[in-house]
């Protein structure tokens, strides 16, 4: 079995059917849970810059992200599993991204889409307020490079994330690698609107109004 098929959700389910009598109960449960999680990744509607247009293109008619179970874009982080950070994050935006990440329910995954979120991109040298890589304040599961990445690259990133989820251990013992970001904190910044009530209230209301 090639590298590409390893841990793929459908392949794992196929293996499960073949080897069911030999597997332990928890192992079976793990596989089923992971299969469910990886096959219905709901991303959050969160476009920042140019990459957001490619993210929309992936969701639209030609590329159709729904084929991989990841097409149900949610407008609120509370219903989302996957945060696709699509675009340059600057000093003013960073606390919003961090807050959105904190609002998502577990288990949650982050895709850093585009060169800017991976490491500053074209703004790494002269961008005085660009955060060079979002992995400075949120844990990133998949990096998708490109400026902007092609839609196929995003689909590849989704499939990569699915394989990563299939390798996780939910009920069985053992370690899966999760980066520790508990020490990183982002304090809320000030904004242009000088209204104390708005500045103390959460900066990100998440209900869609349309």
């Amino acid at each position: 079995m090639g590298l590409y098929e390893r841990n793929h959700p459908d392949v794992m389910m196929f293996k499960l059917e073949r080897n069911l009598p030999d597997m332990g109960l928890l192992r079976v449960a793990d596989t089923v849970i992971n299969w469910g999680r990886s096959s219905s990744l709901w991303p959050m509607t969160f476009g920042i810059a140019c990459c957001a247009i490619e993210m929309m293109a992936v969701g639209a008619s030609k590329f159709d992200m729904d084929r991989f179970g990841a097409g149900a874009f949610r407008a609120t982080p509370r219903q989302a599993d996957l945060m696709i950070v699509a675009g340059t994050v600057n000093a003013k935006m960073a606390e919003v991204v961090k807050r959105l990440y904190d609002q998502m329910p577990e288990p949650k995954y982050v895709m850093a889409m585009g060169a800017c979120t991976v490491g500053g991109g074209p703004y790494w040298k002269h961008g005085y307020n660009v955060v060079k890589g979002i992995d400075k304040f949120v844990p990133v599961d998949v990096h998708v490079p490109g400026c902007p990445p092609r839609p196929e690259a995003i689909l590849e990133g989704i499939r990569f994330l699915q394989r990563k989820i299939m390798a996780r251990r939910v009920l069985t013992r053992g370690e899966h690698h999760t980066p520790d970001f508990t020490g990183v904190s982002v304090s809320p910044g000030t904004t242009g609107i000088q209204d104390p009530q708005l500045n103390t209230a959460p900066a990100v209301p998440t209900e869609a109004t349309s």
């Binding site: 959050m44 140019c50 293109a57 639209a60 407008a75 600057n90 660009v130 904004t191 708005l198 349309s210």
Partner: protein, 386 residues
């Protein structure tokens, strides 16, 4: 078809006065086209005050403009208005060429016009598709994207990128048209023109859409001029002003095309529907321009002689060059002291000016219409914050 909506009497809602409510919209919001944040003060359902808060995508454009060379800066211009990267390339290259006094070969000029107008259609398709999405119509989005993908395929064929092209270079264009490319554009235009009618059936005359956009967010001509509106937003308010005709750059004086303006077919002149309708008509005009350019395109060079790309130097001076972006007047004001790097490069982004009118037109409208108004002025946040 052809539904018209009567203007709402202004005193109809006076009695429902309640406690003032503060609502925060954005920066993460599905209908703000990026990371715009608007603080809205509402009295019941009626907006009393609105204050846009921008800067969530500030990417230091002007600092980079005075730190990298002219040639290196062209790819950065792609990323400011990322929906119309060709037009941004064109504006910057024209500004530098004006300072450097370069003569552009004929064929390059025609290729520039063709790709800019194709990109204008793609940008308007995006504006219309997402505008439908904002108002709850999901289907037109997919149809608009289907056509847009065709344009992206054509542009990708010639320059290899889907979104950030870096195709128009200082002194000409990156490469000559590949074999069969021009014929393919003709084929696409034959395919695309009937699709405009399809878009009208889907969205333009849809009763719900007309009800949500006609007489909403009316910008009078006086307001539009006062707030520096340009492009489709100014034309939607009834002003026949287009830089391609009124201050011709490149070779636009050789083509025949109309300048559509808003006439208040469904409601008042300058409402959301008019701005939308101007964009639909402009796509047809772009098709006309491309057809003429395809007929006239000569053979020849595609890059000006004597442009040394590794050590391109500009003459000293300062100049302002404006082009008609899909969103409005895109201007580059460059100060050069000679040498490879600009002393100052200032970008006049149309969306930045358009956004400042929100403070003026949002108060008095219904809260639910705020999304319709923000969508109708078609902003790109990369350009607002730069």
């Amino acid at each position: 078809m052809a539904a018209t909506v009567e203007a709402r009497p202004p005193d109809k809602y006076v009695d429902v006065r309640t406690q003032e409510l503060q609502i925060n919209m954005g920066p993460q919001h599905p209908a703000t086209h990026g990371v715009l944040r608007v603080a809205i003060w509402a009295d019941g359902e009626i907006v009393t005050r609105a204050e846009p808060d921008i800067g969530y995508l500030h990417r230091c454009a002007e600092k980079i403009g005075e730190s990298v060379t002219h040639i290196q800066y062209v790819p950065y211009t792609d990323r400011y208005d990322y929906l119309a990267a060709m037009n941004n390339n064109l504006g910057y290259c024209l500004a530098v060429e004006k300072l450097a006094e370069l003569e552009i070969p004929e064929r390059a000029e025609y290729v520039r016009v063709i790709v800019s107008e194709l990109n204008r259609i793609a940008s308007h398709l995006m504006a219309i598709g997402t505008y439908g999405l904002d108002l709850g119509a999901f289907t037109p989005f997919f149809y608009a994207f289907r056509e847009r993908e065709e344009i992206l395929r054509i542009l990708e064929w010639i320059c290899g990128a889907r979104l950030t092209y870096n195709f128009i270079r200082i002194g000409g264009v990156m490469r000559d048209c590949p074999e069969g490319w021009l014929e393919d554009i003709t084929r696409f235009l034959d395919y695309f023109e009937p699709r405009l009618e399809e878009m009208n059936e889907l969205l333009t005359h849809n009763h719900i859409f007309v009800n949500r956009t006609a007489n909403i967010g009316v910008v009078s001509l006086e307001q539009a001029v006062k707030y520096g509106l340009t492009g489709p937003n100014l034309r939607g308010s009834g002003m026949r002003w287009d830089l391609r005709r009124d201050d011709p750059y490149s070779i636009y004086d050789r083509f025949e095309f109309d300048i559509p303006i808003g006439t208040g077919i469904k409601g008042t002149v300058g409402d959301c529907w008019d701005r939308y309708w101007v964009r639909i008509l402009e796509m047809g005009e772009s098709v006309r321009i491309i057809r003429q350019a395809l007929d006239q395109i000569p053979d020849g060079e595609i890059m000006a002689k004597g442009v040394r790309h590794l050590a391109f130097k500009c003459k000293a001076g300062e100049s302002y060059q404006a082009v008609e972006n899909p969103r409005g007047e895109l201007g580059y004001y460059l100060i050069s002291e000679g040498g490879q790097i600009s002393y100052r490069s200032r970008i006049r982004a149309p969306s930045f000016c358009h956004l400042s009118i929100l403070e003026e037109i949002l108060p008095g409208s219904m809260f639910g219409d705020a999304v319709a108004i923000i969508g109708s002025i078609d902003i790109v946040l990369g350009e607002v914050d730069r």
